[in-house]
């Protein structure tokens, strides 16, 4: 054993040892394998299916394994109009997801009620009234490229997370140009 340690040269360290932080590794792992839950509600679901299909390929982001059950998924992409009848079920599904969990609100209906904001007595004007949302993707429906951008923005947000405090603090700091206090 002592000989093995004495025989170690400096070059060996570069090949076999990586020095990093737990934050970086955890964030890299979480953002590279975001498994969405199959949660298509309305028209945006069709665009989400197009994003997951071969032309716009969600699989290259690590997110191409939509899980049917919330227990195995990290990400819920609320795609489509949320009605009051459905909102109670969304809360239940969100609570069944294990931490860490993220929410992308896709389309204008999930963001703020969409075209049904004015006379929709049964439409929930934005899914953020019932669950906390990480990324909003506007559009009616958003193009697949916009959905991918939303996913990339979520990945950026995840890389800012830290085990030391609430996840939003470093992200906001970076956004505001690191102006502390």
């Amino acid at each position: 054993m002592k000989e093995a340690v004495a025989n170690l040269k400096d070059e060996d360290f570069n090949k076999n040892i990586i020095v990093t932080s737990i934050d970086a590794v955890a964030n890299w792992a979480r953002s590279s394998a975001l498994w969405p839950m199959t949660f298509g509600l309305a028209c945006c679901a069709i665009e989400f299916m197009a994003t997951a299909a071969s032309n716009y390929d969600l699989d290259r982001f690590g997110a191409g394994v939509p899980r049917a059950t919330p227990r195995q998924s990290d990400l819920i992409i609320v795609s489509g109009t949320v009605t009051l009848k459905m909102a109670t079920r969304i809360i239940r599904l969100y609570e069944q997801m294990p931490e860490p969990k993220y929410v992308i609100s896709m389309g204008s209906c999930a963001t703020s009620g969409g075209p049904y904001w004015q006379h929709g007595y049964h439409v929930l004007k934005g899914v953020d009234r019932v669950i906390p949302v990480d990324v909003y993707v506007p559009g009616c429906p958003p193009r697949p490229e916009a959905v991918l951008e939303g996913l990339m923005k979520l990945q950026e947000k995840i890389t800012q997370e830290t085990f030391n405090g609430p996840p939003v603090v470093p992200f906001l700091r970076k956004l505001l140009g690191n102006k502390t206090a």
């Binding site: 009848k85 007595y121 929930l124 004007k125």
Partner: protein
């Protein structure tokens, strides 16, 4: 067969002065039927071989104005055998509306009547399963009426924008 001929047939069969035909309609005339007779007339229209209205195209409730005291239930019928169509209307009061069901004549009427009950509050007597179809079971009010006000809060969620 034209609507006028069917109207004469119905008048002679049912001998009710309340069955009337509206010929001043812009496109096609329609027949107004009293609500007590709608089930019998529907059966007659469906079973008679030369009428054969085997398809109920649409069953809708209409509330023309908040100040009116009545609503209309409109039945659009079509015959797949003879390819003629017919429009029937039933006028019901807004307070405690009751209409006999036609679900034994056309099976699709089951769901259409549930929808009219849900959105307008019309009770269809004899319906096997009259409960709300589109809105949640504990919803209050009937939204498609002209005097409907949307609720402020439903199960802890704010409804208006």
């Amino acid at each position: 067969m034209t609507t006028q001929e069917i109207f004469s047939r119905l008048q002679s069969k049912f001998e009710d002065n309340d069955i009337s035909i509206e010929t001043e309609a812009v496109l096609e005339p329609f027949i107004v039927v009293p609500s007590s007779l709608i089930a019998l007339i529907s059966e007659h229209l469906c079973r008679e071989s030369d009428l054969a209205f085997d398809s109920l195209q649409c069953l809708s409730g209409v509330d023309l104005s908040a100040s009116d005291e009545t609503m209309e239930i409109v039945y659009h019928l079509f015959s797949m055998t003879h390819q003629h169509d017919l429009t029937l209307k039933v006028i019901v009061p807004k307070v405690e509306p009751h209409v006999p069901t036609v679900e034994h004549v056309w099976k699709i009427a089951n769901w259409h009547e549930r929808e009219v009950y849900d959105l307008y509050g019309v009770v269809f007597d004899g319906h096997s399963d009259l409960r709300r179809i589109l809105l949640p079971d504990d919803w209050e009010g009937h939204p498609m009426r002209k005097d409907y006000k949307e609720p402020e809060i439903y199960r802890g969620m704010k409804v208006p924008y």
